[in-house]
């Protein structure tokens, strides 16, 4: 029952993130999507991934809130209560699909390696390379946002 409620919340907040007119409200709805996704992962047994999703989502949302005001324009058009209710109903209807339909049933493996073993024994090289990727991206973002002094020349 908890999984169904969390998946319904996930779909409804995703719909709100797309259909709300004001960008800041859209970011708030996206925060809900990330929160429901993290709870869904934790409830399904992938607790570490849930915590990771929560941390990554918090960072992304902090930046989105900061840049959201800059990127959004003040518009007179605002979402009416009627439209809001319609979006929530549409999201609730869409969330019924995964509850009542089924196309895939996974087989539970008993001989699988644990998360820690997989990360450090099998994919340790990837973890190091991932650090390099993040460093490269940080440099790339710094270059993109770099402003030349002396009047932009």
């Amino acid at each position: 029952m908890i999984l169904e409620v969390l998946s319904a919340g996930l779909v409804i907040t995703a719909c709100l993130a797309i259909f709300l007119d004001e960008a800041v409200y859209s970011v708030v709805a996206l925060a809900g999507t990330f929160l429901f996704a993290a709870l869904l992962y934790a409830e399904s047994g992938a607790i570490i991934v849930g915590v990771f999703q929560f941390a990554v989502g918090a960072g992304t949302l902090a930046i989105l809130f900061l840049s959201g005001e800059m990127l959004s324009e003040r518009t007179l058009k605002k979402t009416t209560t009627k439209n809001l209710v319609m979006v929530v109903i549409a999201g609730a209807l869409l969330s019924l699909l995964p509850i009542f339909l089924s196309i895939f049933t996974p087989e539970v493996s008993t001989s699988g390696v644990s998360f820690g073993e997989a990360l450090w024994n099998l994919r340790a090289g990837d973890v190091v390379l991932q650090g390099l990727v993040i460093m490269t991206v940080a440099m790339g973002v710094a270059i993109i946002l770099h402003e030349k002094r002396n009047g932009g020349k």
């Binding site: 991934v49 959201g68 990127l71 959004s72 969330s95 995964p98 339909l101 997989a118 099998l122």
Partner: protein, 106 residues
């Protein structure tokens, strides 16, 4: 409860937003939703089969996803600061007018 269908629903919402919304931030939100759909599919499959390798891959994929988000957001900020636009349609017009100006200068 079928998580493949749940991720398909999320993917459909994200693609709809990507195709219909013109605001740059909404496009970014749509990309995030598509990434969440892919992640959800992967995590739930790994969690339901009890294989830890899937979760390990996911932790690595999260950082790549965040890196992509950071680059997209940096580009949006630069576009907004340089041209003052927050709409993809307007961005196309800016490109056309910039090309015309460079042709006149030449």
């Amino acid at each position: 409860m079928d998580f493949v269908i749940l991720s398909l629903v999320l993917l459909a919402i994200g693609v709809y937003g990507l195709l219909t919304k013109r605001h740059l931030l909404k496009v970014f939100v749509s990309v995030e939703l598509i990434a969440t759909a892919a992640t959800l599919n992967f995590v739930m499959l790994a969690a339901s089969t009890g294989v830890g390798v899937g979760e390990a891959f996911l932790v690595l994929a999260f950082s790549t996803d965040t890196a992509v988000s950071a680059v997209i957001l940096a580009l949006l900020i630069v576009v907004n600061k340089k041209y003052g636009v927050s709409d993809i349609g307007e961005l196309g017009k800016v490109k056309e007018s910039t090309e015309e100006e460079s042709e006149v200068e030449a």
